[in-house]
Amino acid sequence: MASLTRADVEHVAHLARLGLSADEVTRMETDLDLILTMFAVLDELDTDGIAPTAQTIEVESILRADLPRPSLSQEEALANAPEQSGGYVVVPAILGDGA
């Protein structure tokens, strides 16, 4: 199995918004590679004839009726906001839009 590159670690760190130092990237390169090697053991199992599984719990199709319930108060909703203004959560200026 191809081992993890430094670029892979940096890419994953960026996606997770982790600011890793050069030393940390080096350490993660080794650690993550070991973790992946351990998981690769699973690839040795013969899974032919087994349907892809995304869930191991046995319940299915759990739905709720479309009935509104009370929400939190604005005060409660904003209790953990680092900064607020006029009932909004304040964040650094974002240009453009999300995905």
């Binding site: 890419h11 996606l15 918004r17 995304a54 869930q55 719990i57 319940v59 299915e60 199709s61 759990i62 739905l63 709720r64 009726a65 479309d66 009935l67 509104p68 319930r69 009370p70 929400s71 939190l72 108060s73 604005q74 909703a77 904003l78 203004s85 006029g86 009932g87 909004y88 959560v89 304040v90 964040v91 650094p92 200026a93 974002i94 240009l95 453009g96 839009d97 999300g98 995905a99």
Partner: protein, 488 residues
Amino acid sequence: MTSAVATGWEAVIGIECHVQLRTASKMFCGCSTDFQAAPPNSHTCPVCLGLPGALPVINEAAVRHVLAAGMAIGGRLLPITRWDRKNYFYPDLPKGYQISQYDLPLVLGGSLTFETSEGPVTIAITRAHLEEDTARLVHRRLEDGRDVSLVDYNRSGTPLMEIVTDPVVRTAEQARRYAEELRLLLVTIGASEAALENGQMRVEANISLRRPGTEAFGTRVEVKNMNSFRSVERAVAFEIERQAKALDAGEPLIQETRGWDDDRGLTYRMRIKESSDDYRYFPEPDLPPLHVDASWLEAVRAAMPELPAARRARYAELGIPAADAVTIVADAGATALLDAALAAGPSLAPRKVANWVVGEYLRLAKGEAGATAVAGVSGAELAALVTMVEAGELSGTNAKEVFARHAAEGRPVAAIVAEAGFRQVNDTDALRTAIAEILAANPAAVADVRAGKGQAIGFLTGQVMKATRGQANAALVGQLLREALEQA
């Protein structure tokens, strides 16, 4: 209206629509979706704020709306669907991921057919899936001078359907017509209010150009922020022209997202896609898979109303001109009025009733007074009115006035006609009696007519009209009067 054609290029357009579904509560929690006029952050809970430990539960109504939409576009409804996490960081997404559907969406395939100025067009639909909406961002400068973004999580977790076409749209007009027809369909089945102007339906177009006859796609540009159907057409037309000019000049295009500026009538750069998005989708562990069984599908099918295309076909079979049918079906009020009038007046020619709906009802409904001008309209009364006109009991001009009054006030047509004295008397016997009385009472005038004084006929006609309080059919009075004078 057809867009300007960029000569030598073929436009390849795929349209992606996000539609807020019509539910009382959010996608995965019980927070009310009735927050349009609410203070910010007043409709949230641990689930839609993404607080640790909160668990989502799927709203049945949201799934039902997507199933109905899938059925309405003739798509394949997958028996087992699943939710996936789409991972990215943005302040409008409190969990750090959006619960969406990746490889097992509720609906695969389907199509939408509509009329254009170049004839009917069918657009293939790739898929439709269910996801949750993000929070709303407001960009503002605070009093201390800092430019910040403000986040309102009321919209966070609202049920959203994404419906994507194949890259088979070719013109700006097709793009607009597709969006219009999709909106009509979704409103008809009750899945969404789908108003573009307030973001209930958001239309994005992926546009690239290529040489006609070639297969490979050109550099793709995503255009968004079009908040009316007219904007969709203008934005797509502008972008086709912009790309054609750049390519003709040998300038390379950049894969980017551009916004439509309706006031300036142009698209502007919002952001450049530096690398392909890496959302690291994986199955949502907090939600079990969903089985859509046959009995559920049957219930959705049973509740399906007549769809716009079927409605237009039915009207065509009734002899209603195609243009009138398109106009009527595009308006829920007009459709309801026509159907009610036809039910109340089965012997009336549908074409004539449709003519009233298009010519008078829609003229009033779309006039300055708007909905109040037609607040009292009733199909049975329209049928009664058309019956009177067809029987010659009411002149066309008077009938229009009667209809306008009825539509606004809701009073029965017969009452308005009687009150205004609009009824035309066509009863030949009654008119003959009245004429005989007038002739007997005005021997001098009769003698004048006999002596060749033509204007005396006008006097006698006036007397008959006066005796019938203006309700006699004037043409008929003239004819009967001449007959009576010849016989006398």
